[in-house]
Every structure is written in C-alpha cells, then in structure tokens.
Symmetry: C2
Subunit: 186 residues, 2 copies
DNA sequence: GCCACCTCCTTGACTGCTCAAGTATATGCA
DNA sequence: TGCATATACTTGAGCAGTCAAGGAGGTGGC
C-alpha cells in the first residue's frame, strides 16, 4: 500500500530553502563561477519585499486602516510642492499605471485624506492633493512606519554601514523614495 | 485669471525624486543622525522590486506567456525532491497564503505545466508537481530569466562584490530563493 | 473509542492592479 | 487655421492575491 513515490513523503517541509546550496563548480552557470548569480539576487529581492510589505501592512492596517501602498502614496503627496501632484507623476513615482493611481486614490478620497484639484492651465490634469485631515493622519502613520522600519533594521543586527550599502544598492536598482524627514511628529 | 495656486503649475513633473535630499541636521529623525533612515531603505526596497518585477514580467510574458511569479513557482517545484511540493510548503516558500497558491496553480495546471498528486499517507495533502512539459518549458523560461537578470546586474555597473553584498543583505531580510543552477539549459 | 483541537485545501467575496478602449484636451506642423 | 499626433485621465474586464468560512482528515489525551 506504500508506493515508492510516497516512501519519500515526510509530511515535513520538502523545501530546504537556504542560501547558495552546493556550489556546482562545473554547473551550467552562464556567469563566471566567481560572480554571484544575478537571477538568484533578483529572486531574493522579490521575496524580501514580500516579507517587508507584509510586516508594514499588518501594522499600518491595524492601527491606521491603510496599507503600505496607501501610506506611500500619501507620503509622495506630502513631499510634493503644495502637497499635491498630477496623477501621471504620482503613477511614475509609485511605479503604477495611471489607472492604478485612479483606483488607489478612490478610497483615500472617500475617507477625506485626499482631494481632487483642477489645474488652471491644462484641463486634462487633475491634481491629487492632501487634505488637512490627510496630513494629520499621515503624520500618525509615519510614526508607526518609522517604528516598524526601526524594528526591521534593528541596530543590533544592522550596522549603519550595512544599511547605507543596502540603501545605495537599492537606489541603483530603481528604488526611489519620497523625502519624509521634514514631516513633523503627530 | 491665474490663481496663485496655479502660478506654480509647471506642467513639468512636480516630484523631484532623488536620493537623500537635504540633510536635516536638526530634523525630527528618531534615529541617530549618523544612521541611515530605515524607513527610507524599506521604501526603496519596495520601489526597486516594482521596477525589477516589471522588467522580468515583460520578458517572460512576451516569450513564454508567464509572469515572474509563475516562473518562481515552477522553479520552486523544480528544485524540490521529485519535482513536487505540498501546497502549504509552496505557500510558505513564495510568501503567499494557501489560497493564493491554489489560485496561482490553476492556470499552470490548465496549460499542463503542473499536475496534482495525492499523498498516500495523508488524504488532506495535494502535491503540486511539475509535468515533463513543465520541466521543458521551465528550462526555456530559465534561460530568459537568466538573461534579464544578467542585463539588470550588468558587470559594467555591478561588481561581484556589490552583487554579493546585495544578495547577503536581502537574504537577511527574508529574501530566500530556490536553487536553480542544477537545471540544464533548454 | 470519542472528541477537542489542529492541519490542509478550496471557495466566495473582496481588494489592488494592468490592459485596452474611450473621451477630452493640448501640441506642432503644413 | 486645420488636423494628425500626443497627453491625461477614467472605466470595463480580467488577473493575482488576501481574508474568512467551511469541509475533510489527522492527532493526542482521556
């Protein structure tokens, strides 16, 4: 009754998901063997982001009813001149399409954190602008986000140098971020 | 007819999205001023991932009709013993929920890249297993993915050391990746 | 043997996003 | 001035994922 296929059925995790694994000195690696695998790095980036986002989403949604992407959107508005941006610019900053921005703004407009403003010189344009309420709420979210980030990159595990390196490397990969240190505490 | 608000309406991008910006020596930074901002780094990670995923999705969908997440799922199966994994293990490896895995597997099962296998010792378990076709297609996808990754981390811009550092830092952030160098070329 | 509790997986409902199509408006050249 | 082309935005449809609920099955203590 025990087929050979199930002889290996451990019910334990079947995915030893560790680092580089056995180094195949004669493997089909198209790169020089002394160079780290770029695909491996890319996949790690994606997986790391999933873990990080999950953590921020959990805290921000619980305390503020918003997701990390909501928060990031608001943060971009806060650092823009006049607290407002054209939607097309917001899309580029966030790495979304225009319709993605429209969809993302809808709930924020509904709860009064963001409002729509027309542009006097271009009738096609609709600005997304932070409301005073939006600013207040954002300051509170920012406080939480800073805490989560601080825990994530705890000084006992992350040196200033390591953090600096990571930040620089991510920037080189297209990792832009809105300036937010001018935003006062709630 | 020109309101003061629109005097600043440049129609040009209103989001100077550059690096660290002006260093606020007396800013409300809760960290020590000599330490990079962890929140900044986290936001850069998320944004960098968006850019990277976009690029992989574009190439993989155009040439192979799959997304990066499809590809990653298949890759995990390929490096598992017997080319199969329990769905709950796959969910953990990918950072998804169980239902996310169910949804992700559906189209792959439909096109014959993945099949379902029962476990002899546990009736609750349904394995996700690579089909022979799935293996062949995966090898082709892998070829493309390696190329995209190689372009993304071009040696002229990325030293082996920089890549090694990034890989290590991402690993520390929870960035796991399936071993794939044992998979032969198509 | 019984049962409380846990595990695995699926499904309905919903959210967040892209693509494609469409409308309104702006731009530049003949 | 007229018009081809481009830009900004929205909306319908569809995909990818989460949450909650539920059904089936497994485990361990009494």
């Amino acid at each position: 009754m025990t087929s050979p296929a199930d002889a290996a059925d451990p019910t334990a995790p079947t995915s030893p998901m560790t680092g580089p694994g056995p180094d195949p000195a004669t493997g089909p690696n198209p790169m020089t063997d002394s160079r780290p695998d770029p695909l491996d790095t890319a996949l790690r980036l994606v997986r790391a982001q999933t873990a990080v986002v999950k953590r921020f989403d959990s805290s921000l949604s619980g305390l503020h009813g918003v997701s990390l992407s909501d928060f990031t959107l608001l943060l971009h508005l806060a650092q823009a001149p006049g607290g407002r941006m054209r939607r097309v610019d917001l899309a580029e900053a966030l790495g979304l399409t225009a319709s993605g921005v429209t969809r993302g703004l809808a709930p924020l407009e509904r709860i009064g954190l963001v409002t729509r403003e027309a542009a006097a010189r271009d009738a096609r344009v609709a600005y997304a602008a932070l409301t005073p309420t939006g600013r207040e709420r954002l300051a509170e979210m920012l406080h939480t986000a800073r805490q989560v980030a601080a825990e994530h990159f705890a000084p006992e595990q992350w040196s200033a140098e390591g953090l600096t390196q990571l930040s620089a490397l991510l920037t080189r990969l297209g990792g832009t971020a809105p300036e937010h240190r001018h935003i006062p505490r709630p």
